[in-house]
């Protein structure tokens, strides 16, 4: 025991900023529920989160948006607690709660004073098996989701471009579907669809519970066992297996809509973070877009003043190959052609010449520092563990950090050259209505 302590201490003294995800405690209940707990005593609060391995990729043609609508319905009440009680009860305890749905997972979370952590545990266990769906509440919530869709997509031109680009980039993988669902599909979702989805995916063996906060792990584990232990294991789930066939040449999508400024978004198919090239792709994104000293800001926004903003990001936190993004919003008076060409030129530059050691070091320092700074928030700690867990296991956090540290300037050039090519590329263009495409 003493030897172990000394080792931990030594490791911290030697490299206080390079520790990894050492402090996660992992357990699995008999019914298959995985439990991850991190003690953090910075403040007397805690977060409880439950993540289900279900999202848009598990949907079917004509039924897109089902996972997200089910997420909404999960707040409508259970046979145990009655209707409209979930958020009200959490708020009465001084807590806040919410949820989000993605392509691959759906997560529910609560934040509250840590001495009340038993409440969300009990209530999440309850709605894992006792959800009460009425046809009337489904119809009404469907309307709410359609309003949400209008707000986020129909009336947001840049988001519309994003949706079109996704649909074009993937021709057979369900990544092409919007998480919120197509409007025409939303109109057809009915209670039976939701019940079937719920019965299949909402089970302890398809979920992960995460706790971060001012808690005693033994105590919180006991609470979780008491509440979730009662939920029976669900049926084995056949994993959604969808691939994406080869692309031949660049694809383009245009959106013509009332807007003020042109906007361009180029995406490139790239491997997920579990691939060795993922680390260099993340450093590449940092060099292109990590702050005002990055290449895209310097060139497009500062020097040439063509863009209001310009950015790149590596979206590698997926189970299967996803995308590298590069985009820009034009500044007033900038022609789309010039904006797109300048953005492309910056990508070409890094394909042809490796970045400097300092640029690479800066990107790495930014990643390391943000690892530490994110720990200021309990919610973000849990969120990161959950995200890694969904795509392949929370222990990948360590592998990821190690991988980033090893990236060289030549690695960055190599992955840029390999992936930022026409056969992987889809470009979306927003044409402000009234302006014709030249």
């Amino acid at each position: 025991m003493k030897i172990f302590k000394l080792f931990v201490l030594l490791a911290m003294v030697l490299s206080p900023f390079t520790a990894g995800a050492v402090n996660v405690k992992e357990y699995t209940l008999e019914n298959g529920l995985k439990v991850l707990i991190v003690e953090d005593h910075k403040a007397p609060t805690a977060t409880f989160q439950i993540w289900y391995r279900v999202g848009a990729v598990n949907e079917k043609t004509g039924k897109t948006g089902l996972s997200h609508l089910l997420e909404h319905m999960m707040f409508k009440g259970t046979s145990e607690y009655g209707p409209k009680t979930f958020s009200q009860t959490i708020q009465r305890a001084g807590g806040t709660d919410n949820a989000f749905t993605t392509r691959e997972y759906t997560a529910y979370f609560e934040l509250l004073a840590s001495d009340r952590i038993g409440l969300p545990i009990e209530m999440e266990a309850d709605r894992m098996k006792n959800l009460a769906l009425t046809p009337a509440s489904v119809l009404s919530e469907r309307d709410v989701v359609m309003e949400e869709r209008r707000m986020r997509y129909e009336d947001d031109p840049q988001n519309l471009v994003h949706e079109e680009v996704m649909a074009a980039a993937f021709k057979n993988h369900p990544y092409r579907w919007p998480v919120i669902g197509w409007m025409s599909d939303l109109k057809t979702l009915d209670p039976e669809d939701l019940i079937a989805h719920y019965k299949t995916y909402y089970a302890p063996n398809n979920a992960v519970a995460i706790v971060v906060g001012d808690v005693d792990p033994a105590d919180v584990l006991l609470k979780i066992k008491e509440s979730f232990g009662k939920v029976p294991r669900g049926p084995e789930i056949k994993e959604a297996k969808a691939g994406e066939d080869s692309q031949y040449g660049e694809k383009r999508a245009y959106v013509k809509k009332e807007a003020e400024l042109p906007y361009v978004l180029s995406v490139y198919k790239v491997p997920a973070i579990v691939d060795e090239d993922g680390f260099a792709l993340d450093v590449l994104a940092g060099i292109l877009s990590g702050g005002k000293s990055s290449r895209l800001y310097n060139s497009l926004v500062y020097e040439k003043q063509l863009a209001l903003s310009s950015w790149a990001s590596y979206e590698g936190m997926y189970r299967e190959p996803f995308l590298f993004y590069a985009g820009a919003t034009a500044s007033r008076g900038t022609k789309m052609e010039e904006l797109e060409k300048t953005l492309l030129d910056e990508l070409e530059k890094i394909k042809n010449a490796a970045p400097s050691e300092r640029e690479v070091q800066k990107a790495k320092n930014q990643i390391e520092a943000s690892f530490i700074m994110e720990q200021d928030s309990m919610y973000m700690q849990a969120r990161t563990i959950g995200t890694f867990e969904m795509i392949g296991g929370w222990r990948l956090i360590d592998k990821y950090l190690e991988g980033v540290r090893k990236v060289t300037p030549e690695d960055v050039r190599r992955v840029a050259g390999k992936y930022l090519v026409a056969d992987r590329k889809t470009t979306g263009i927003l044409i402000p209505a009234g302006e014709e495409k030249k």
Partner: protein
């Protein structure tokens, strides 16, 4: 519940490592930080928290848009925005290059009551952080070239705001209720007003308002008092007290009848804001108003507006009400988005709920639930370095007192059902209000 009620962009940057943390969590019984007024007039708030090797600094300066001349709207924001775009010894690129190389952040933000400069650094880089912070506050050069650049960026972003119906509605609403009061104009100014701002205006504004006796400095994180003092001695030595002129502000006039503002845009939804003037942050009714508004439309799914308009009628995804309480006044607004043809129905429901609040007592359950949330959720408002650092600025700026954590609980607990009825009658108006509708007006307001 949203596909992303909060921003869903998961980036690999949003990671962290886990250090071994020990010791009980502080609960802030009593004072939540050390406060002192430095010889040059800076109000210093300091809370040492050693759990993580990070330091968060917020510097607030009472140099927001309320003190700029009306005809130079945007001057305060432009001045703040230009701070990190070049100093006597560092160019814009050097500033961002130095702070970003160590993975830190140094940002500026305009505002109506005050502007803020925010610094986040690892403990090992705190010296560099304070060096940069003091340099941009004390020695900015405001070069013509950078001014031109920044104006162009702000003008483009003003254009982009026109793509966001919520912002369009909000700007029109503020202008209508505050009129000539500085709260009525956008902090970033307009294309026309920016055009009138010259370099000498910026330099004069900086020299008049960026003085220590006009500033609040909040420092939270892994830094001792001794270390902090040494840094202030070293980097803020030349910052000398100067005195700030008090200027009277115009009083916004009250409305006597509804004013309806229609903005036609090719949208599938009508964005609606209905509201009027509210209260200032130091109004003693703030606490009764907080409880009242939680029940009306501030309490998410526990609120009447959400229950009625979203949960029961399915008319909107996001429906809420809030009192924005600032130093020199405030506003009340209820807002939602709904498909154009249900706009009228939704507006009717907002007014109905406001009127019910004005005429009927709330139930015991509503009152208790609201109090229970407002007091019970307080720990969440101060559970990280960055939240505490910003919170302390508000405590100082609005004279809340360092025992606010305890005081807040008592103030909320003491609110009665009669108090709620009284403040609802006093601060909610269903006869004289401003209604803004941004959307397809033909569909939203038939017969118009």
């Amino acid at each position: 519940m949203g596909q992303s009620r909060e921003k869903l962009k998961i980036s690999l940057r949003l990671l962290f490592l886990f250090l071994v943390l020990v010791g009980p969590a502080p609960a802030f019984a009593g004072r939540m930080a050390d406060r002192e007024v430095l010889p040059n007039g800076v109000v210093l708030l300091h809370e040492e928290r050693s759990g993580l090797p990070i330091v968060r600094v917020v510097l607030a300066i009472k140099a927001g848009s309320v003190v700029e001349p009306a005809e130079k709207a945007g001057l305060a924001n432009l001045t703040a925005d230009l701070l990190n775009e070049g100093t006597e010894k560092r160019s814009s690129k050097q500033i961002s290059g130095e702070i970003e190389f160590v993975g830190g952040e140094l940002g500026t933000s305009g505002g109506a009551d005050f502007i803020t400069v925010t610094l986040s650094v690892l403990k090992k880089d705190v010296d560099l952080g304070f060096d940069l912070l003091s340099d941009i506050i004390l020695n900015p050069v405001f070069s013509e070239d950078e001014i031109k650049r920044k104006k162009a960026v702000i003008i483009s972003s003003i254009m982009q705001q026109k793509e966001e119906p919520g912002i369009v509605a909000s700007k029109a609403f503020k202008k209508a209720i505050f009129g000539n009061h500085p709260y009525g104009r956008p902090v970033e100014g307009t294309e026309e007003s920016l055009d009138t701002i010259a370099r000498r205006d910026i330099i004069a504004f900086h020299s008049e308002y960026y003085v220590p006796d006009n500033a609040i400095l909040s420092v939270v994180g892994d830094i001792t008092k001794k270390e902090l003092r040494a840094l202030l001695d070293r980097y803020f030595k030349g910052w000398e007290r100067k005195g700030v002129p008090e200027k009277p502000l115009p009083v916004p006039g009250h409305l006597s009848a509804p004013e309806i503002i229609k903005i036609d845009k090719d949208l599938t939804q009508a964005n609606i804001i209905l509201g009027h003037l509210g209260i200032g942050r130091e109004n003693p009714d703030f606490y009764a108003v907080s409880v009242m508004n939680y029940i009306l439309g501030g309490g998410g799914f526990a609120s009447r507006l959400m229950d009625n308009i979203r949960d029961n009628k399915g008319l909107s995804y996001d429906v809420h009400s809030f009192f924005s309480a600032n130093k020199y006044g405030g506003s009340f607004q209820a807002g939602l988005q709904t498909k154009n043809r249900t706009a009228n129905a939704a507006i009717g429901e907002i007014l109905k709920e406001m009127e019910r609040m004005r005429t009927e007592q709330v139930t015991d359950k509503e009152l208790n639930d609201a109090k229970s949330y407002l007091t019970g959720s307080f720990p969440l408002r101060i559970d990280s370095n960055s939240k505490i650092a910003s919170f302390l600025i508000g405590v100082e700026f609005y004279n809340l007192g360092l025992d606010y954590v305890d005081k807040y609980k008592q103030l909320i607990e003491s609110v009665t059902k009669d108090d709620i009825l009284r403040v609802a009658r006093k601060y909610l108006d269903t006869k004289a209000y401003v209604l803004v509708v941004v959307g397809n007006i033909k569909q939203a307001i038939p017969g118009d």
